[in-house]
Amino acid sequence: MTGRFGRFLVGLPPYAWLALFFLVPFLIVLKISLSEPSAGAPPYLPLWEWDEAGNLAFHFNPANYGMLFGDDLYLSAYLNSIRIAGISTLACLALGYPAAYAIARAPLAWRQSLLLLVALPFWTSFLIRVYAWIGILKTEGMLNAVLLWAGVISEPLQILQTDLAVIIGMTYSYLPFMVLPLYATLEKMDLTLLEAAADLGCRPFKAFLAVTLPLSMPGVIAGSLLVFIPAVGEYVIPDLLGGPDTLMIGKVLWAEFFDNRDWPVASAVAIAMLVLLVAPIMIIQNARTKAEEKAEGRTGR
């Protein structure tokens, strides 16, 4: 792929496509988040226009952002999203770490299949997997039936339409995103370090805390962010499994856009969400770039 012109031809289509369909839309969201809502179509007023005298007139409307801070609804949705996404991330970690560890230490011949079993649900429909939980969690659903039968509870629990159902749904949907990066770091680990620790009289559990856990931190961080970032903005899971009072920022954005038809406020909610997520997104990008450049440097040319 030598020659400047050849490179230009290869690079232009994806570059131009992403600039038009990924970068420009954010600028438009930013613009509309500052404009005034209107009853017409599109339901917002232009941010700037030329008046008769030929002067440029701006109509900034920071009130959309003022509303986010002024109304408790937005703030509690914001905080609740962070809380639910955070708990789901921890649950994924608690379930995913032992699973990834077990796969990484399984016989070599098994690892690919075990890993495929983790990734497979990701390939089946996300919507359908969330839907499947409704039948399990509802009051007359399977989980309550099993618990009643086993005598653990004496009357059915209300799980569906609570935050707990949302957390279960999130943990379920995002578990593969946690296991795969964890596996990648645990599998690469130099096992002689553990042998050395054992030779020096270190107990397995202590060796895990002193050697394995610190070495797997890149995987823990990558997995946690891959779960946390999309979970914060989730719409489908809180809508299907949560109740009317399960407030999440993704649901608020959806309601502002589709039910209230308030595009400027929906845009302001989107910008507020991005501000929250921009730091974790940057961290994950840096980690990914570093890892990939390392891999490319080692095996490339």
Binding site: L95, P98, A99, A102, Y131, Y235
Partner: protein, 264 residues
């Protein structure tokens, strides 16, 4: 031993919900939690549901088009990232390729819709929300996934064949088409399949960019699911799961055979 138990627990957690849903799709009773005997009547009813069939057909077309578009663009993006180490705006490009992977869907959906509205106001295209807008939106967010898959393959492939062809005087384009492309073909297939399943599964982005005339299958399922669990949806879900599973097995075999043909 404890570890193995935990692993089995994780797999149970992943697979039991899907298994329950498949079992109850064959339930004769309309009540979704009471077993009323084996029946395939819900599948029969599905075949006569015009709305579902239309939506499925539309989703299939959208997924084919957007996955193909995403594979072409994603492969080019992967070539740029792996082979062109220095160019203007590389950081920006890397950011734009990887950010869609984690971007919450509501933000992607809203921003693309606002873009389409602004474009229509400025150039009169795309007119309204239609198949075109869904394809453009799906291609954009699945492009990033294709890039990840192709990029790792491209980064780890053996370049000596390319160098040999180059030494023998083949032009870069010819080297790419006759050497590189066949070598990375399995990853292109994997990327295409990933893009296809992402598209055929997408609810949130489609909700923003689809119009009344073009409703993809997930939107139809979603509006039915919001009304509660029904055996008909269980049947539909089972078909979707079965189709994906078959596609995965076939793709896995194809990729495996290609690998074997090359290495042994």
């Amino acid at each position: 031993m404890i570890l193995r138990g935990l692993l089995i627990l994780a797999y149970a957690f992943l697979y039991i919900p899907i298994a329950v849903m498949i079992v109850f799709s064959f339930n004769a009773s309309k009540l979704v939690t009471v077993w009323g005997g084996f029946s395939t009547k819900w599948y029969g009813e599905l075949l006569h549901d015009e709305k579902v069939l239309d939506a499925a057909w539309l989703s299939l077309k959208v997924a084919l088009a957007s996955a193909t578009l995403a594979t072409v663009l994603g492969t080019l993006a992967a070539v740029v990232l792996v082979r062109f180490t220095r160019f203007f705006g590389r950081t920006l490009f890397t950011g734009m390729v990887t950010a869609p992977l984690v971007m919450p869907e509501v933000i992607t959906g809203l921003s693309l819709l606002l873009l389409f509205v602004a474009m229509e106001a400025a150039f009169g295209w795309p007119a309204g929300r239609s198949v075109t807008t869904i394809v453009l939106a799906h291609a954009t967010f699945s492009l990033a996934f294709v890039t990840v898959v192709v990029r790792s393959r491209l980064a780890t492939m053996d370049r000596s064949l390319e160098e040999a062809a180059m030494d023998l005087g083949a032009r870069p384009l010819k080297v790419f088409l006759t050497i590189t492309l066949p070598l990375i073909a399995p990853s292109l297939l994997a990327g295409w399949l990933l893009a296809f399943t992402l598209s055929i599964d997408d609810v949130v982005i489609s909700a923003f960019v689809s119009g009344p005339g073009a409703t993809p299958l997930p939107i139809v399922i979603f509006s039915k699911v919001r009304l509660g669990v029904s055996p008909e949806i269980n049947a539909l879900a089972t078909i979707v799961v079965a189709v994906v599973a078959v596609a995965m097995v076939v793709a896995g075999r194809v990729a495996l055979r290609k690998d074997e043909a090359r290495t042994g």
